[in-house]
């Protein structure tokens, strides 16, 4: 195995969530190798990272490996149960209602799922947070107008947007990204605004202001680093939300449409077979849950690892950590 060599490279290509958190890590003074050693100390975080890398790799190169396996139908071979090698490795996760390999479809679906969820979250996070921090820092009319715009977007039925996009354009992954990103912007906007409004009256921001720092510099140097952990936690949760929203759209018949396939669509299409072929909806559901949990665990870890006030926790041996109540040693 050449894992030590390939892993960092793979992580870079990964469309998965850990890209953004690690971007933040670079901003602080921590060195990356240091962070990597810290990661290995935390079993859960390590497992999550490995899982995410695997899922990410699958999404990137998997579809090419599967070839036409994901679309090759065999009506006489429909709904074969999983966990049997009798029909070859392709059918180890069973076959779907048209006799296609579940494994291959899960792999191909992972790419669609990520190419919807990742851009949707990234766009909403970037736009919503910057806007919110800006609005919260300046307060006054900027804040008011921004919040009213957020209200407008929030009270606007996203389902209608989805139908409009479906009707006027075609139901492509790109359009679904657009809808999901647009409708999720207010979430970040409101949170960032609230945090930043609170921060802008704090002493250290005041101090920076009296020293004559420009608003954008203060926002960039003092406000964003403090707000970011909350926003990133939110973003990892949103990552899961977006996958689920995409699947709900499929359930309502206005999401990703066949022949495209995503995990959400698979769960939605498989629901009618729950009693006769449970694996059709359980496997993609498990894929969503596993990805989400891994992303969240890693994000939670990163949040601690990149926070100087919290980092010591990770450096401790596990046993002592559990017994310990974080009391007086808190801050260096």
């Amino acid at each position: 195995m050449t894992s030590s060599l390939t892993e960092p490279a793979a992580q870079d290509q990964l469309p998965g969530t850990e890209n953004r958190p690690s971007g933040k890590g670079n901003g602080s003074q921590d060195g990356n190798p240091n962070l990597f050693r810290l990661l290995l100390k935390d079993r859960f975080a390590t497992v999550s990272a490995v899982l995410l890398v695997l899922i990410g790799l699958t999404a990137v190169i998997g579809p090419a490996l599967m070839g036409d396996l994901a679309t090759k139908q065999n009506l006489l071979f429909a709904n074969k149960a999983p966990f049997s090698l009798a029909h070859g490795w392709e059918y180890v996760l069973g076959s779907d209602s048209l006799g296609r390999s579940m494994l291959a479809r899960l792999v191909v679906a992972s790419r669609t799922t990520f190419s919807v969820a990742v851009p949707a979250v990234a766009v909403a996070l970037a736009v919503g947070s910057l806007w919110g921090v800006w609005a919260g820092y300046h307060r006054g009319w900027r804040e008011n107008v921004s919040m009213r715009i957020a209200d407008v977007i929030m009270s606007f039925p996203s389902l209608l947007l989805a139908v409009v996009v479906l009707y006027v354009f075609s139901p492509s992954a790109g359009n679904i990204v657009l809808i999901l990103a647009l409708t999720r912007i207010p979430i970040y906007l409101r949170t960032a605004r609230a945090e930043s409004a609170e921060l802008q009256s704090r002493t250290f921001v005041d101090a920076a202001r009296t020293f004559g720092a420009r608003p954008n510099a203060i926002i960039g140097r003092h406000v964003i680093p403090v707000v970011l952990p909350t926003l990133l936690t939110l973003a990892t949760l949103e990552f899961c939300y977006v996958m689920l929203a995409e699947s709900s759209l499929s359930f309502l018949g206005i999401g990703i449409q066949p022949p495209d396939v995503s995990w959400g669509l698979m769960v939605s299409q498989g629901r009618q077979y729950l009693q006769t072929a449970w694996w059709l909806s359980i496997f993609p559901g498990v894929a969503i849950v596993v990805t989400t949990i891994a992303a969240n665990v890693l994000a939670a870890w990163l949040r601690i690892a990149t926070d100087p006030a919290q980092r010591w926790r990770l450096a401790l041996p596990r046993k002592r950590l559990i017994a310990r109540i974080p009391v007086k040693e808190a801050k260096p």
């Binding site: 679309t71 139908q73 009506l75 006489l76 429909a78 209602s97 048209l98 006799g99 139908v163 479906l166 009707y167 075609s170 139901p171 018949g253 206005i254 449409q257 066949p258 022949p259 299409q269 629901r271 009618q272 077979y273 729950l274 009693q275 006769t276 072929a277």
Partner: protein
């Protein structure tokens, strides 16, 4: 300004959301919570779960499946009724009828019938109903569905005699009239009525919008009193939930189940008169060439689809109407599944300069019937195998309709539209005029010769009518090939053991509660 004096107690922090939520609860009243119904027991009351709430119970829209299934033959009744099994017309509110001239029919009406509001049923009421549905500005759905633009002249000769005159000779006028549910003259002529009054065995007791409709048996009914005193309708859009309700005993009858809902021996199959087919847009390459259209027919493995997707319950189709419809041609055989032949036909067309690589859009309506998504993907795969360039487009209803009816939506290439056609009327004219005339609202093309054949069949009656329509179907398969037929569908109805009922081809459009009896 010390911090401690301004501290909110934790209870106060928690109180806010709780208070707000409590206030919301109060504000919103208890319209949902207090609707708890007494557990319905069999014998007195029959519980039915439908796929959707009827938009209205207006009698002149009862040709809509979701309305008709509640109203027809339960609340209101027509003059004449078509027996769904034999196809014969049977007397109901009219006891006899005959053609008294080329364009005029005379109906003898039943005596001693009253409406649920106490007014008598007579020729005046019948004439009123026809006028209201067909000749008014109400825009009744049944008008467009059964009568088109033609206005009818109606006359109440005396209390029990009615004459109806059509602008053109109409041999199936009585059949058309079987779609008109008779309402009393007290019914509004300026607005549609959500809760109609009729002559049927049940009257509408209560409609809890969004939740359920209750019908109760009406004492003044002219015919036999039905076995169930009440009928309660609810609706769930997920078929698995409807299946769950009949399994758990929360309902007695569940409509529209899917073969995978797995209700075991509670499932009752019945032919539902629906036919699934591809309609081919022969005015655009590559479907312009008849060989390509034939290839489409050869490439579809109808037997495989029926057996694998529909557990052998559907029947492979050779024409747009199933058995039991006047004009069904029982000698027609379905196109065999022959991929090699399909490939060679495509190759031959290509050799003659047809652009067989041009894209064909396979347009399919989302959730139109059970497993439509699976079927669509199978079709895409099988047509691609034959060497055609097929792109699957799953659309929602409104958008799909722009492809289904004239003026047809423009697409980047030729369209192969998946249609599900149900002939509720029992006569091939309702299919052929629509789908095969060169100007038909749902037809891509035709030929003058074929149009003439169809017109002749429309004007014929009796045995000649049957024969002419049979020829029409044969001719389309032979010379036009606008359609690639797939299957005649089978409906699945969930029925609890406590109910005796045998569904028939019209059960989905007209569920006659009076035909149901409690078991033992």
């Amino acid at each position: 300004m010390t911090s401690s004096s301004r501290v909110l107690s934790p209870a106060a922090v928690l109180k806010w959301p709780a208070l707000a939520a409590g206030a919301l609860l109060l504000l919103s009243g208890c319209s949902v919570a207090n609707s708890a119904s007494a557990p319905a027991t069999a014998g007195g009351s029959l519980r039915v779960v439908l796929a959707q709430e009827p938009p209205t119970l207006e009698a002149c829209e009862s040709n809509l499946t979701s309305t008709g299934v509640v109203v027809r033959s339960n609340v209101t009744e027509p003059l004449i009724e078509r027996n769904p099994t034999t196809g014969a017309l049977e007397p109901l509110l009219a006891t006899e009828w005959k053609a008294t001239s080329d364009t005029e029919w005379t109906f003898k009406l039943r005596e001693g019938v009253k409406f649920q509001d106490g007014t008598p049923f007579n020729a005046e009421a019948a004439a009123f109903t026809i006028d209201r549905a067909v000749n008014s500005k109400l825009g009744c759905n049944v008008e467009g569905y059964v009568f088109g633009d033609a206005d009818l002249k109606v006359k109440a000769v005396d209390a029990t005699t009615l004459t109806v005159t059509s602008p053109k000779p109409d041999p199936i006028l009585p059949l058309r009239l079987s779609f008109l549910e008779i309402v009393p003259t007290t019914t509004s002529t300026t607005a549609k009525v959500r809760e109609p009054v009729g002559t049927g065995p049940y009257k509408i007791e209560k409609w809890d919008a969004g939740q359920k409709i209750t019908l109760s048996s009406w004492d003044g009914y002219w015919g036999k009193k039905p076995a169930y005193a009440k009928a309660e309708y609810q609706w769930r859009s997920e078929s698995s939930v409807r299946a769950a309700m009949v399994t758990s005993g929360e309902t007695d009858v569940a409509l529209g189940l899917s073969p995978d809902d797995n209700v075991g021996d509670l499932a009752v199959d019945y032919p539902n008169n629906e036919t699934v087919a591809l309609r081919l847009e022969a005015t655009k390459a590559p479907l312009t060439d008849i060989r390509v259209r034939q290839a489409v027919n050869y490439a579809i493995d109808k037997g495989g689809i029926v057996n694998s997707l529909y557990q052998g319950k559907h029947k492979v189709a050779a024409q747009l109407v199933p058995e039991g419809i006047v004009g069904h041609n029982s000698t027609l055989e379905a196109w065999p599944f022959d991929l090699d032949k399909a490939k060679s036909l495509v190759a031959a067309a290509k050799a003659d300069g047809v652009d067989t690589s041009a894209q064909i859009s396979l347009v399919v309506r989302n959730a139109q019937f059970p497993k439509v998504t699976e079927l669509a993907q199978v079709l895409q795969e099988q047509l691609s195998q034959a060497g055609l360039n097929v792109k699957l487009k799953m659309l929602e209803t409104s958008q799909q309709l722009t492809y289904q009816v004239r003026p047809f939506a423009e697409d980047e290439g030729a369209v192969a539209l998946l249609i599900q056609h149900g002939n509720q009327a029992g006569d091939a004219a309702f299919t052929v005029d629509q789908y095969m005339l060169s100007t038909g609202a749902q037809s891509y093309f035709g030929t003058p010769e074929f149009d003439a054949k169809i017109k002749a069949a429309d004007a014929a009656s009796g045995e000649a009518r049957k024969k002419s329509f049979e020829e029409v179907f044969a001719y389309q398969n032979d010379k036009l090939v606008q359609f690639a037929h797939i299957s005649h569908q089978t409906g699945i109805l969930g029925k609890s053991k406590s109910v005796n009922y045998t569904p028939n081809s019209s059960s989905g459009d007209e569920l006659r509660v009076s035909e149901m009896t409690p078991a033992s």
